[in-house]
């Protein structure tokens, strides 16, 4: 009976409070958290959500270096996205600069700030998924909790597992090519021939694997059972409530500040 725990052992990284949630919940929460940000384009709601998110991550003991590593590229990307909005956003209010299609106005600058914050929020929300990314547990959750078809979920899982083997295959293939006397070609050409060969190899293995799965009774009419239970618990409910609260807070702040702007509104 104790053996039921197997297959769910955590990877080497120190567990965070997020790990108490089911992987499916984490995916769902990431989606849920993105919705209030997506429906409005304003800086108040985005900033509120950003603060909530970081507060939650820190409270859940997500290591700060990890957080920094994940968000660093965003600091590079977000300004560029903002510039685009500043230059081509629909003008409104005072116009500061105009040249051909470019118009910089009060309104486009405000939008640019919103876009900047928005990219930060949406990008960093993916941190919640880290560690929940064990494909086996995710598949267990998708099939048992969301009731997606087992055939689809497990077939996909088996295919996806090969990504873990790509690196290993790449090395073996490099060794084999070296042994066959065709390993001396230029670096770029070798990269592309090997990448293609790797794809061919993966498909070939996938084809065989499908046969092996059927040979073990997969895909038959019989109702399937699950060796690893995937359940929802108190942590999942708590996560849901916190996320809903953060979403409500950010929309509420925007409404209160009067900056709320539904993306569908076609303003002047």
């Amino acid at each position: 009976m104790t053996a039921v725990q197997t297959g769910t052992t955590q990877a080497a990284a120190a567990p965070t409070l997020l790990d108490r949630m089911n992987s499916v919940t984490r995916l769902g929460l990431a989606v849920l958290a993105s919705l209030p940000i997506l429906i409005t384009l304003d800086w108040v709601s985005a900033l509120t959500m950003l603060c909530c998110q970081f507060g939650i991550f820190v409270a859940c003991r997500v290591p700060l270096p990890l957080l920094a590593r994940r968000t660093a590229p965003l600091l590079l990307v977000a300004p560029i996205g903002a510039v685009s909005m500043a230059l081509y956003g629909r003008p409104g209010g005072e116009i500061h600069f105009q040249w051909w299609l470019v118009t910089i106005s009060d309104r486009s600058l405000l939008l640019a700030v919103a876009v900047f914050l928005r990219i930060l929020v949406l990008g960093s929300s993916a941190v919640i998924l880290i560690g929940g990314a064990d494909p086996t547990r995710m598949a267990d959750g998708l099939a048992q909790i969301l009731r997606l078809p087992a055939r689809l979920v497990l077939g996909t899982l088996a295919g996806v597992r090969m990504v873990g083997l790509f690196a290993e295959d790449w090395r073996t293939m490099a060794l084999a090519r070296r042994a066959r006397g065709i390993g001396d070609i230029g670096r770029l050409r070798r990269f592309f021939t090997m990448a293609f060969a790797l794809l061919v190899f993966a498909i070939r293995r996938g084809t065989k694997l499908a046969t092996a799965m059927e040979a073990r009774g997969f895909g038959s009419e019989r109702e399937r059972t699950w060796a690893r239970p995937s359940r929802l618990g108190r942590a999942d409910l708590f996560g849901l409530l916190v996320t809903l609260a953060a979403g409500a807070l950010s929309i509420g702040m925007a409404l209160w500040a009067g900056t709320f702007w539904l993306v569908l509104w076609d303003a002047t």
Partner: protein
């Protein structure tokens, strides 16, 4: 009950039938050993029985092959199959999950699954943690895993829609001698109560002779022999020998060379540590010396690190510590530099050589044949190395034709290497390396999956290459191979 009447299958894109004119009946609970030459269609029969051969556009079926009167594709799950290639059957990322996978598909209740997983892993002697990644298993360990998965599905308490059928395709080909006994006994326990029908394909008759009731021999057109073990072996020995069956008690026709002692070493190691990651060394402090012109054979249990050592000696894997050294006669010219500028050439260290240096000096056959194939036709595959050496075309053609003949692959010259049978793939991969006749040849399990005839020709080829003064290192579990070629023997023991 399994009934075959005039059954045959031809793979799409192949002119010849893989099997044809097969007639037999197997009762529930019977135990059958299916024999036949390499390429006779044994794996094809098992795949058909499991219902995984594919639809009408993947091949042509003729005659009937039925399980209790039904086409195998309609009773999927009744038949469990352990396929020939252990590498391609790993479904999930962890050992425990992978064994449980089949049980889940059978609809077993959860509380029954995990005890079964433990029992099955114990039975095949795969003693690793349940959350061990399946990717980091040796060839033999993967084979044990595949068998454990099938055993767990077919444990005696399985309530299923009719008695189960267990098909095993060369289940012991990659196992060490102790493992063969262990696995055979485990399978014996599963079929002990006669509720499970057993079909085993294997070239070595002696392992299974005591367990099975009956032998069926596949020939080129239909069944060559069918009957109780002792009777068939006694009455039809000559036909069986002609078809490549390893008839127990009949020794193979080859004998060892007279060995001249005290050869000088061609390659040696200095305090070598092998492995894939620095944190998990596989072999430690190895002092190995390979005598020039002799055949060195490496043996040892599954997972002991034989393949890892072989790849390191061959200059493919980087040593984790220590060095591999090569005698001056084999070293490349120090000035002759390849384009691979990232490695600085040390002529005595094969890991720093270029791919072209290796080609004429050290050739390697991997344990997994498929890893090595780079072309779309068998013929092209054999020519790859010769092309890299800039041989003229007519000479390449001659050499390739010669090899095809020796390897019994002439009829498959234009086939895709990946569609060959297990034994054919093995011969081809050995052939690709022998083609360029490097001075030192490293062979990882060169004879698995061979029938008696192809085995003899393959070993003869190795002997011929030795006679040319070349040096050979082989990793093997094959006792017959050891008898002929263990001129120098290295035993690798598992490090705890």
């Amino acid at each position: 009950m399994i009934t075959a009447s005039g059954w045959g299958w031809r793979y799409a894109g192949r002119p010849d039938w893989a099997v044809r004119g097969v007639d037999f009946t197997v009762e529930d609970g019977e135990r059958v050993l299916l024999l036949g030459a390499s390429g006779a269609g044994k794996s094809t029969v098992l795949a058909a029985l499991t219902g995984v051969l594919g639809g009408a556009d993947e091949g042509t079926e003729e005659g009937r092959l039925l399980i209790d009167g039904k086409h195998p594709t309609r009773v999927r799950g009744r038949v469990g199959l352990v396929m020939q290639d252990p590498e391609s059957q790993v479904v999930l990322a962890k050992v425990g999950d992978d064994v449980a996978f089949g049980c889940e598909n059978m609809g077993l209740p959860r509380q029954e699954i995990w005890p079964r997983v433990h029992r099955a892993l114990d039975a095949v002697g795969l003693r690793v943690p349940l959350d061990q990644p399946t990717g980091a298993l040796s060839g033999g360990q993967k084979q044990r895993l595949a068998i454990a998965a099938a055993l767990a599905m077919h444990g005696s308490t399985a309530e299923s829609a009719g008695p189960g059928i267990l098909c095993l395709d060369e289940p012991t080909a990659n196992l060490d001698p102790a493992g063969i006994v262990e696995v055979r006994d485990a399978i014996g326990r599963v079929v002990a109560d006669r509720t499970t029908t057993l079909l085993v394909v294997e070239h070595r008759v002696d392992v299974w002779a005591d367990l099975v009731d009956r032998i069926i021999v596949l020939g080129t057109d239909g069944i060559l022999a069918d009957g109780p073990v002792a009777q068939v072996l006694a009455e039809q020995a000559t036909e069986l020998l002609a078809a490549g069956v390893w008839v127990p008690g009949v020794p193979h026709p080859l004998s060892p060379r007279p060995v001249h002692a005290s050869a000088r070493p061609l390659l040696w190691t200095e305090d070598l540590t092998t492995g894939y990651q620095a944190s998990r060394p596989v072999g430690r402090h190895l002092e190995v010396s390979i005598p020039k012109g002799l055949s060195t054979v490496i043996t040892g249990p599954n997972g002991a690190g034989k393949s890892t050592l072989a790849l390191t000696l061959a200059g493919l894997l980087r040593p984790l510590a220590g060095r591999v050294r090569v005698a001056p006669g084999l070293q490349p010219e120090p000035r002759q530099r390849g384009r691979r500028s990232s490695r600085t050439l040390d002529p005595a260290d094969p890991h720093t050589w270029t791919s072209r240096h290796l080609l004429t000096r050290i050739g390697t056959v991997f344990q997994q044949p498929e890893h090595q194939f780079v072309e779309r036709q068998v013929r092209e595959e054999l020519a790859v190395g010769l092309r890299a050496l800039d041989w003229p075309q007519p000479q390449i053609d001659r050499r390739v034709a010669e090899l095809l003949e020796t390897l019994h692959l002439t009829g498959l010259a234009t086939a895709n290497p990946f569609t060959l049978s297990g034994g054919e793939q093995r011969r081809l991969s050995v052939g690709t390396v022998l083609a360029t006749s490097p001075a030192l040849i490293v062979l990882d399990e060169p004879t698995f999956g061979q029938d008696r005839n192809t085995w003899t020709d393959l070993v003869q080829l190795v002997l011929q290459i030795l006679a040319e003064g070349r040096t050979i290192i082989s990793v093997t579990h094959d006792p017959a191979y050891l008898e002929v070629l263990a001129e120098n023997r290295l035993v690798v023991t598992a490090t705890p």
